[in-house]
Structures are given as structure tokens and as C-alpha cells.
Amino acid sequence: MVSEIWTEKYRPSKFNELVGQDNIIKRVEALTASMNIPHLLFAGPAGTGKSTLALIVVKELFKNNWRDNYLELNASDERGINVVREKVKNFARTKALGNVPFKVIFLDEADALTPEAQQALRRTMENYSATCRFVLSCNYSSKIIDPIQSRCAMFRFKLLEKKDIERIIRRISETENLTIPLESIEILYEGSEGDCRRCINILQSTASVSPSITPELISTIISSAKPKDIKVVLDYAIAGDFQRAREKLLDVMLKESISGQDVIKAVQKEIWNLPIEPEIKVKLTEKTGEAEFRIVEGSDPFIQLQALLASFVLAGLGK
């Protein structure tokens, strides 16, 4: 059955259908053809084809048996390394079906694992190396510990370029009978920031309203998915009403379940629209950067954001 979800429907299923990662494709295709792959590490931004390539590899290796020989785990969803280990163990215990001597485990977003969990994963990779190959994906390879990196063949995916995105959009539009002017493609590309999955999702979401994909319609769809109320939060803070600012902040974060990192992104952009001195804008940007750094490092986002809001209160006083 063909999926109605376009990211699935138009997901490439052969090497030559993949767009934008030509160098990687050639090398991975060659490895796959030898019927013996090493552990693989796919590093790169979201929506550039990492999961797709992993799927193509297993389909090529196992043909119709691929579902029996393939396990997909998402490290940011599986709560601990123990879950991963348990699932890996159960999966690896039985022999691979068909004529390939190993099974494949795809561990998506492996950089979400703590360094300790990665140490444990490294042992797991060793213990099951006879029966399993691991394909890891991550956004930042620097977040993968060296011992794992050294056990894998690494491939760096790059952001899709405008021409790649355009090719994909054109192909979908033809099949789905959409009318789409060039400006719309421009806006789709900018709105998706080189993330192909996001781009296709925005396209399908827009097409569900009307088959005529106008730039205005796309903009509406994109902005409906953005945190709107951050400006309100900052306005309260600049006006000196800290209590309401933080109430609103918690409200926004919870009701629209926006992560601390997304809030910070919006705050950083919003600074430039505030009625404050240039010097203070720079100071606030520095504070924002520090807060973002801390959140990425694992601090409590709400506490860091509150501290940041308190400096916006000061900025409102001209300090």
C-alpha cells in the first residue's frame, strides 16, 4: 500500500533516486554491493536523507526480507541505554534470515545519548558485531564519542541546496496536480531551511487547503507553526512586569509544547525588534547565547529563560 503521507510516499527507495548527496551515495552503494557493510555513521542536519539512505541500504541488502532483518530505534525516544540494549539483545539473538550473515540496527539521533550511554552502546556494538551492523545517525558528529566514531565509517550529509529542493517539489507537484509558481518554491525553500522532510510537510499541509500553492498560503501555514507569543512575553518583561512575563512564558511553552531551544531561537530573533539601545541589544544577545548554551548542555530551560527574562527587565530600564 502506498502511503498518503507524502514524506513516505515520495521517500526514495533506490540509490539513484536520492537527491543532493551524490558523493555519499556512490560510496555507500559500493559498500552495499559487496554485501558486507561496516558500521556506518551518518552525520548531518535533519531532513537530508540519513534515515532514507539507511532504509535503502537494508532494502538492497535483504530485498523482501528487510523487515525481519532491520530494527529502527530512536535514541531521543528510548528512555535509557538499557532499553536500547534490551531491544538490541532480543533482536540480535536470532540469526539473520536470507543469505546476508548479519542484521542491521538503525539508531537514529544517536547524539541524544549521554556519553555514558554511548560507552555502553560501544560495548553493545562489540558484543553483537558478529550478528549485527549498526547504522547510527546524528546531527553533530562531535557529540558522538571517539571510540564509536572510530568503529564506524563516517558520512557527512550536507544541507540540500535550492536546486535539490526545487527538483523534489516539482516532482511531487506534477504527480499531485498542484500549481506552484517559482516564488512559492523560493518561500518553501527558505521556510524549510534545507530540511527536505519539513519542506514536503509544509507543501502537503498547504496543498490540503488548496491545490494552488500561493506564496501567501505557504507563509500562513509556516507562521501558524511558529511560536507567536514570544513577543508578548518580551513586551511584558521590557515593560517591567516580570511576573506576567514568566507566566506567559510557561503558558506558551506548555500549551504549544515549544521546547526551550525553540523559545530561545525566537527570543534571539525578536531582540532586533525591541525599542532599546544598540549596545543593550548586543548585551542581551550575549546573554541569550549563554542561556542557549546552557540549555543545550542540559540545564533546566525554564530557569535559564527566567534568568534571561530578568535581564530583559533590566534592559527595559535602560541598563
Partner: protein
Amino acid sequence: MTWTEKYRPKKFEDIKGQDLAVDKIKSFAKYFGTGKKALILHGPPGTGKTTLAFVIAHETNSEIFELNASDIRNKIKLHDVLRPVMEQQSLSKKGKIILVDEVDGISGYYDKGGVQELVRLIELTSYPVIITANDVWHKKLSPLRKKSELVQLKEVSYNIIKDVMINILRKEGQFIDQSTLTRVAIKAKGDIRAAVNDLQTLSQMGEPSLAVLEERDKETDIFNALRIIFKGKPTNETLKVFDSVKMSIDEILLWMEENIPAEYQGEELARAYDLLSKADVFKGRIYKQQYWRFLVYENIFLSYGISSAKKTPKTGFTSYKKPTRILKIWLNNQRTAKKKSISQKYAKYVHVGTKRAMHDFPIIKQIINSNLSIQKELKLTDEEIEYVRN
């Protein structure tokens, strides 16, 4: 015999300063069989919880069967010991009262299943069960709360404590001057047992001097700690302010977070939150590196640090609030449970992480909503489809 035992009240009229509680327990005994079968007496130490249980037994001419913290109270033990007591007739045809003393001392670990078993036994019992606890609001006691009437005993006022002490001295034929008595009474902070113990110590020393009585390490409650930090000047004592607060540092951090804006404005506010955020950074480092010495820094920033954020001490009364963030998050999670379950199904189906699906939910929702066959593909439940529609 210690004075606390010797002068422990035997009758209702001997109990001072707890009139409301006395009335409640009387009517509980009188109407037993019509309402809840257990009663929890709760309140600070030394306010008369255990005493009250013994008095009600005495006044109703009942035997008392007591189980306290020194007994092991796990599931099997409770079952084996209490079950026969609850079912069998008292030998002397007297009534019977079952006293489970200091129930907050039931350990979640060593007394596994203890609280649950107690709840089950309450359902079975044909005799009144009286339970005492300091902190009835502890979450492990929540199933017990539902099965029981709650009676609160308050800290006893120092006047009443003083009267009690004078009464005892009279019976003992001893004399201690008024001002010393007043100080002992105040120092006891509502704990009659502590006061009577101090009194006995003093009377045995010939020349009574309060100096010999060490201040008890009484639990400073979090409100007190907040007051010390926010109102007072930072001193080396401020560093120790959390030592006697019976809360985890994580919980304390939430209390600080909630209450900073109640006290500080402008620059003070920014400085205080800056320090809070640094405490939080160290908290993160502790978890990440499992290096517990960082706790020192977290503690210093939270106490002395936030206290130092102001230029001059604060006056006046501030009403501090309980942290609400965790509750709000929980409530919200209840509300967004559907969103999460839909995201999970979607994520699994299209090979992404649930977090990313949640992040893009507005767009994904629009796609799902517009297409019935996608809803079928994802095997959404009726409730989930309903959620997508709205």
C-alpha cells in the same frame, strides 16, 4: 520514670490546647461503624498524637494494639500481625483500638507494600484504626488519606505549655522561676514533650540555667528559610539555612524559583535569577558527571548568593507561594497526552523521533486532519481523530 510518661494525660480533660481534635476523635469513636474506619492524627512532634490515641482507648474502655516505627511494617508482617487482631474478639469482651504509630516512618524500601496493605486491612477491620503521622501530605500516604478521617493537631501555644509545666512542678514539689519557664515554653516551639523533657533536666540540675539546654535542631520549614534568605543580610549562617529544611535540593530550587519575584525587583531580580541559573548549571553538572561535590556550589548560590542579590535587608511580610510549575506541567501533560500519542504513531510510521514530530505538530496535524486515509494508515483512535479535528 520520665516526666513525659508520668504526666502523660489519661483522660480527655487532661489534654490541653487541642479541643478541636479532641471533639473530632470523640465523635469518631462514638459513631464508629457508620463512616470511615480509620482516623489519622497528624501534626508536629510533641503535640499529643499518640497520647490522644491512648486516651480514647482509656475513655472507651478499649484495649489498644500498637504498632510503631520500631516494628517492621512491610506487607507480610502487617498482614500476619494485624489481620488476626482485627478479626478476633477481644478476650475480655472489651473494645479494641488499633494504633499504627508514626506511619510516615513506614519505609518505602524496607517496608515494601506496607501502606497498601494497611489500606486493605482498613477495609476489613471491625475495630477502629488510629494512625499517627507528622507529615500526612507525603505522597506515599495518599491512598491512606482517602480511607481515613484527618484530624490535625496544632503546635501548642506557649501559654498552655507553661501551664502544663507549672502543674507538673506543683505535683513534684519543685520551683522554677517564671521567666525561665517562659523561655523554656517559647523555645519548645509548640512541642509539649520537648518542654517537659527540658523541664525535668532543669529541675535535676539544682541551679537551673537555660544555657545548658541545647537548641533542638528543629526542622526549619521552607518558609522560614525563604524569609532568612530574602529578608536578611547574607551571613555565614545563611549558608546553612537549607541544612534543616527537610526537602531535596531540587525541590528547594523550585521554591526559590517561584518566590524570587515576590521579593526582588529590577537589578536585584536580575542578579538573583542569574545566581539561580548558575545553581541550575551546577545541578546539571552534578547529574551529568555524577560529581556530587558540585552540590556545594549549587547550595551556596541558592542560599547566600540569592540573599546577596539585594543591597539592603528587606522588611515587611511577604507571603511565599508553593511552586506551581511542576503541577502545571503535569496538568498540561494530561491535556497533551493525545498529541503525544498521535505524534508517537506518526513518528514510528515515518521514521522520525517523537520529539521532532511534536515539534512540527501544527503542520502534521493539518496533514492528518485533511486526509481520512492517513488517519486510517496511522491507526488513530476515535479520540485521537477527534483531537486532530479541533
